[in-house]
């Protein structure tokens, strides 16, 4: 059961960066991850993201003068096909609010749909046979190849007439990465790292903020490298705590094949998550994600504080029950 808890903690800490900076795109979501003995899970996630400010092109922090927030409800599901392969999907519903005067204050809609999965090369503490005798392997880490595809089902800046109406990025994005977990103290303390590379495909805009365009406007976001390092601690079968540092670095975007000057992005944030396990198939995980609003903790990126609550229902592997 502790292994299940750890796996779910990883899932919550692997959350993609969410920002209510609507022009930069909203609507991304997380993918659920199943432990080895799990067949399927459903997750209902609530998040409140408060936009605190932005790091400018020189890495200087600029506080936000207005209230800009994003509320999100995400419905996620995961299904294990085999010992090595699982898939997951996620669809968010997004509500944006802004107090900037003379502009529309709120907007809502479906965000971008994410489908993905992972191929797991190794699991920790698996039973193997050596010399005809079964033994528990204590050397191999958990290692998985992760992959994903984001479909632009949300409303992007192409058709949204106001910032608060933006619920998606507007372009297709693929991701490929590695997930690695190693227990330092079995069933007690774990170290997890996740890395992935995201590539987005060029989007050809027919309009911009609802205004038809008369000239060519093709935009391709830069390639993005996401990282996360987490330390997970299990108190007992009911409680666990995890801390994480994560962030991303993104290269310059291009518009009509011309690179945007000084447009590379990066940021670092931190997550503290607590998991409560009231019964075997059900988990409750509140978490907070924050950034340090000081210079050089990011560049060309918004900074926010996010409160999350995830409710997860878990189905054990039917073959094992």
């Amino acid at each position: 059961m502790k292994i299940k808890i750890l796996t779910l903690i990883i899932f919550f800490l692997c959350a993609d960066n969410l920002f209510p900076c609507n022009s930069c795109g909203g609507g991304t979501s997380d993918l659920a991850i199943l432990s080895l003995d799990g067949r399927a899970l459903f997750n209902l996630g609530f998040s409140y993201d408060h936009y605190n400010g932005v790091w400018d092109k020189d890495g200087l922090w600029r506080s936000n003068q207005y209230t800009q927030t994003q509320y999100k409800i995400s419905l996620s599901a995961a299904y294990r096909i085999s010992t090595h392969l699982q898939f997951a999907v996620s669809l968010p519903f997004i509500y944006n609010y802004s107090s900037i005067p003379r502009l529309k204050n709120s907007g809502a809609g479906i965000g971008d749909f994410i489908i993905g999965g992972r191929y797991e090369f190794f699991h920790e503490f698996q039973v193997s046979k050596k010399g005809g005798k079964p033994r528990i392997d204590r050397t191999l880490p958990y290692l998985a190849l992760t992959f994903g595809l984001t479909l632009p089902t949300g409303k992007s800046e192409e058709t949204a007439e106001n910032d608060v109406d933006i619920t998606g990025k507007g372009y297709y994005t693929t991701s490929l990465g590695i997930s690695l977990t190693k227990s330092i103290i079995r069933s007690r303390l774990q170290l997890t790292t996740d890395f992935n590379w995201q590539h987005s495909f060029e989007k050809n805009y027919k309009s911009y903020f609802g205004v038809p365009l008369s000239s060519d406007f093709r935009k391709c976001p830069g390639d993005k490298f996401n990282y996360s390092v987490s330390m997970n601690y299990i108190f007992n079968s009911w409680h666990a705590l995890a801390v994480s540092a994560s962030g991303f670095a993104q290269s310059n975007y291009t518009i009509n094949d011309v690179s945007g000057q000084n447009s590379a992005e990066r940021t670092t944030n931190f997550v503290l998550a607590y998991t409560y396990y009231p019964s075997i198939p059900f988990r409750i995980t509140p978490s907070i994600k924050w950034t340090f609003p000081t210079d050089n903790f990011g560049k060309n990126a918004p900074g926010s504080t996010t409160f999350n609550l995830n409710l997860t229902y878990y189905f054990s592997d039917l073959n094992k029950n």
Partner: protein, 269 residues
Amino acid sequence: MKYLTYFTLVVITLYFGCQSDTPTDPGANQTGGYSKIHTVESNGTKFEVWSSSSSNFIYGYNNIGFKVFINNNEKTTGFVKFKATMYHGINGPSHTVPSKDNFYYDSQTQLFKGYIVFIMYDTAAFWAADYNYNNEAQIDSSVFPLYMNDLSQIKVWDNIITERIYILSLVSPLSPRVGLNDIELMLHESNGLVTYRELDSAEMFIKPWMESMGHGSGNNVNPVNLGGGMYKGTANFTMAGEWFLYDSIKYNGQFITKTPPPKFIFDVY
């Protein structure tokens, strides 16, 4: 006791010595948002220059007005002509700048109101102005200082088809804020930086763009002509940081701006 007496005398001397000989009226140098920035006087004729843009003549757009006194009598009718010239040294080349042809009296501000746009700034050059009241009294070639204002923005370009030079001046805001900003711009044409003409009936198409983030904004309103070469619209800067404001301009059915069009650069807070 002796030291106390000396100390008291010193304090009294400093206190009364630091006071002005003549009482001042704080309102005497301010009216309707304007403050007096310059005075020229000769042979009983006095021109006071007032500005609502700055406490000096500054590079960029200057919203100015004049008070005219002839033999100590303030004039409230007629017009003022004001022509400023930039000299690149003695006997060097010179240029004038766009300004209101005639400054007419405004009873509300009690000034002959108008504008001047200093489109050049060069520490090696000097400026002189000709003042004319109603073609009755004038003061010529009065030297004045011009100060740099880092927030002012002027865009100058030529067009080989129309064989004209165009000047696009940012009137306001010099320091825009996050959200919707009313944008005021002035458009002039010139054939050699000697004479200028306010251009009305042009079409302007603005595009706010955050280069470092790679996005623009919605809810912008293209500037429309208000007369006198002035255009007013709305630009939406959705977040803090550096924004470009591109302005493509069509006049007499053809674009007079180049590709890419001129852009103002703002540091938005």
